[in-house]
């Protein structure tokens, strides 16, 4: 019984490993939009984690919602998009709640080469448009 308790505790404690809620990176981009976006995202209660990337003048905002809110994904995504469009013009902004896009953004956070980053961003945008 005690072993089971220890196991359960371990599982719960692993869940508590604190990571920054919003991570951001800019590649050959100047301007303070990123900080603004970060502030906005931190205030959002529905967001579990987010990665924000700016490559040149294009923005990618990849979000993971809190688990129970996945049912309201679409409406939350469009709401957030409207809020973000006040900071960044619509054409340059991509917002996604998709796990794949979040995973790719996390990889992109570590990308140092500007050209590669640009390529990766283009790939991600193409992925976003894919239909079943």
């Amino acid at each position: 019984m005690r072993q089971v308790l220890v196991l359960i505790m371990a599982v719960f404690l692993v869940g508590c490993n604190e990571e920054a809620k919003v991570e951001q990176k800019q590649v050959s981009h100047s301007g303070n939009e990123l900080a603004e976006i970060e502030q906005l995202l931190i205030k959002e209660k529905a967001i579990d984690k987010a990665a924000v990337i700016a490559v040149e003048d294009e923005f990618m905002v990849a979000i993971q919602l809190k688990p129970w809110l996945n049912y309201k994904k679409r409406s939350l995504e469009s709401d957030l998009k409207k809020k973000l469009e006040k900071i960044v013009p619509k054409e340059k902004l991509a917002v996604s709640t998709d796990f794949k896009l979040y995973h790719e953004s996390k990889k992109l956070l570590k990308q140092k080469d500007a050209k590669e980053a640009k390529k990766d961003l283009e790939k991600m945008k193409k992925l976003m448009e894919e239909e079943t």
């Binding site: 998709d98 796990f99 794949k100 896009l101 995973h103 992925l127 894919e130």
Partner: protein, 151 residues
């Protein structure tokens, strides 16, 4: 003895199925299948260019394939005996239905036996799936053209 009398007698002697226990079993095993499915879809998203939108198809195909293999090795029947509806209702039940029909009719030959009976059970799944998808699409088209929802 009247038929109704006989039915009463039969009811009296038939053991009551442990419904609650069966429901719990089906829930747990069906849930485990879903966990495996989720793991597969996360695998596809991490290592292949699939998004949450597009990952459904390869995941379903993989799950059906695994169920087909398990059926061929005779393992799925054991799971089915234990879990009941928990193993029949998810998409894996489809793979099981196809392969078990194929195994059953193997002795009748490849073309008329296996070929003719492969979709004996699963055929109705495909038929009603396609038909209901068609009607759901019609309803959605109507709602979109009225302007209630968007694609």
């Amino acid at each position: 003895m009247q038929q109704s009398d006989y039915e009463k007698l039969e009811d009296h002697f038939t053991p009551k199925p442990p419904i609650f226990k069966n429901v719990i079993k089906a829930f747990v095993i069906g849930g485990l299948f879903s966990v495996v499915g989720q793991a597969i879809s996360i695998f596809y998203m991490m290592f292949f260019p699939f998004t949450e939108k597009t990952v459904g198809n390869p995941t379903v195909a993989t799950m059906i394939f695994i169920a087909m293999l398990l059926t061929g090795f005779g393992l799925y029947q054991k799971i089915g005996q234990f879990a009941g509806a928990g193993s029949a209702v998810p998409v894996t039940g489809f793979g099981n239905a196809v392969i078990s029909a194929a195994i059953e009719h193997k002795t009748e030959g490849v073309v008329l036996g296996v070929g003719g009976n492969l979709f004996k059970l699963a055929g109705s799944v495909i038929l009603f799936g396609v038909v209901s998808a068609f009607f759901v699409a019609l309803v959605k088209l109507a709602l979109v053209s009225i302007g209630v929802i968007s694609w």
